[in-house]
């Protein structure tokens, strides 16, 4: 059994393990749209491997990190951009 710990995604607490990427944790928190595009579209991750930059979010105050390239750590605080569809932050 993997050890679970708490992180916060857009103020919502959830339990994850250390084998979960931050991108997946954001999805699990019910966030479909990670950011708002230049013309206002809702966007989620595309490539999953640190190329496309669509999954970027703020982790522990550091903006624009590729969430698919980071593992969850206890106490992490993740913030995504506000999105007009209401399925984002």
């Amino acid at each position: 059994m993997k050890e679970l710990f708490e992180i916060r995604v857009n103020s919502k607490a959830l339990l994850v393990d250390s084998q979960t990427t931050v991108a997946v944790a954001v999805v699990r928190a019910g966030v479909l749209s990670f950011r708002r595009s230049a013309s206002g579209e809702c966007r989620g991750p595309l490539c999953g491997v640190g190329i496309c930059a669509e999954c970027r979010a703020t982790i522990d105050g550091v903006p624009d990190l590729y969430t698919c390239q980071h593992w969850c750590r206890p106490g992490m605080v993740v913030e995504t951009e506000k999105c007009p569809c209401g399925k984002g932050a």
């Binding site: 979960t20 013309s39 579209e41 930059a53």
Partner: protein, 449 residues
């Protein structure tokens, strides 16, 4: 700003001396590092990711035994492995400026092996920017990272052997796969299977002829034309020679073959031939002392990458004229030749059909970072011209997604590249800039929040 840097590394250009530096810890890079190190050479192996293996072997629970063995050999060797390391610039010959988990680090080399691999090629079509539209390998990577796909309907579409391996992995993670849509015509797949009928069945299964594995789910000769959904993808419309139809889905996983990661060869001025890094028989590029191995020289899969990696690693760590070197490399030359024949037949089989150039509508976004539409770039003559006029490829991903797309859509070749190769913070620039001559690109400063 420069004080912590001096403290960290002392004199920048002698900070991390290593005779052979290998960029990329996938099959090619690991094999190159191993070959060079086993010849007694000091080797540094760097990779952007937190662990070795490359896209093919990293993080998968059931890594192939060859992959697991090689990773273990590297771990036990005296090779210096530097994870979380992105090449940012090459400020002078023989030196790379890297970002190691956000901190600048200079790495010097006598010989360099570039094994940066390839990424999925995405083609724009209406709806491809909807949330839950992923790359096929991308969704697989998300599943490895813990995404729960149990009971989710995933349509897999695009082209190439990756579709089947991704579909199999997604199924293993609990996804329901109602359709795998391969754009290549059935006749191509048959011709390919006949040409290589002597190969073990598992090989043909793996490259697209595993129809029986997927029952009616695998269809050739069809491709996506649009994805629909309100706040996420809910269905995809596909087309073949006779009809269009829609399939309901929770996720759409698409990829149209692989495109080489050419940023570093381009930065170093290596000659590019037909979209790949050009190399001689020793995998050496047009720049002396700089070698390329693996997908960056041609899409050929892990076996080809291993053969090329070994040749590059041997050559990078030896005087080329040594007869014992040729003797050691000869079996790998033969293996490489066999792989290249297979790879070129595969390239013909899975060649993208011209109809895919017209699935992007004039209003379809091509550059996702800057939201540049097809009609904004179609009138331009080159990547550079379109970039200057529209900011195409000037956003966060720096053209890594749209570059491969327009390469196919408009036939624009890769162009010389300007550093930084990887977007770094202003603080990084301040630390590294003075010593290395890197200047922030004013066109790519983040302006929107």
């Amino acid at each position: 700003m420069s004080a912590p840097l001096q403290h960290r590394t002392g004199m920048p250009y002698s900070a991390s001396p290593a005779r052979v530096v290998v960029v990329g810890a996938g099959p090619a890079g690991m094999q190159a590092a191993w070959a060079a190190a086993s010849s007694g050479t000091k080797v540094t192996l760097i990779d952007a990711n937190p662990s070795p293996g490359g896209q093919i072997w990293r993080g998968e629970q059931s890594v192939s035994s060859a992959g697991a063995r090689l990773i273990e050999k590297i771990r036990r060797s005296n090779i210096r492995f530097l994870p979380g390391c992105q090449v940012v610039d090459a400020p002078q010959p023989g030196t790379l400026l890297c970002s190691v988990n956000g901190e600048p680090e200079w790495i010097s080399y006598d010989s360099l092996v570039i094994a940066t691999g390839a990424r999925e090629r995405f083609l724009p079509f209406p709806g491809w920017t909807l949330p839950n539209v992923y790359g096929a390998g991308g969704l697989q990577a998300m599943a490895r990272g813990g995404l729960d796909l149990r009971g989710k309907r995933v349509v897999v579409c695009g082209s190439g052997p990756l579709l089947l391996s991704a579909a199999a992995a997604l199924r293993a993670h609990g996804a329901e796969i109602p359709l795998i849509a391969e754009q290549a015509p059935f006749a191509h797949l048959l011709r390919f299977a006949w040409a290589f009928r002597h190969l073990p069945a598992r090989v043909l299964d793996a490259i697209g002829l595993g129809k029986r594995l997927f029952g009616a789910g695998y269809r050739s000769g069809c491709y996506p034309v649009r994805a629909q959904g309100v706040d996420r993808v809910q269905s995809v419309t596909l087309r073949n020679s006779t009809q269009e139809w829609s399939v309901r889905c929770d996720y759409l996983a698409c990829s149209f073959g692989l495109a080489p990661n050419l940023e570093l060869p381009l930065l170093l001025g290596c000659r590019i031939d037909a979209g790949f890094a050009a190399v001689n028989e020793w995998q050496e590029t047009s720049v002396p002392g700089v070698y390329c191995a693996g997908e960056v020289t041609g899409i050929g899969g892990a076996d080809q990458a291993l053969a090329e990696g070994e040749i590059a690693g041997l050559a990078a760590s030896h005087a080329k004229t040594a007869p014992e070197l040729r003797e050691r490399a000869t079996p790998r030359f033969q293996e490489r030749e066999r792989c290249r024949r297979f790879a070129s037949a595969m390239a013909v089989c899975f060649a993208l059909r011209p109809e895919l150039r017209s699935i992007a509508m004039p209003e379809t976004i091509v550059c996702r970072c800057e939201d540049i539409r097809m009609d904004q770039i179609a009138g331009h003559k080159s990547w550079r011209e379109a970039q200057l006029q529209t900011r195409l490829g000037a956003g966060h991903c720096q053209g890594r997604v749209c570059g491969a797309a327009v390469g196919f859509l408009l036939g624009w070749p890769a162009e010389p590249i300007t550093p930084p190769l990887f977007r770094v913070t202003e603080n990084f620039m301040a630390c590294a800039g003075a010593a290395a001559g890197v200047t922030p690109d004013p066109a790519s400063n983040p302006s929107k929040q």
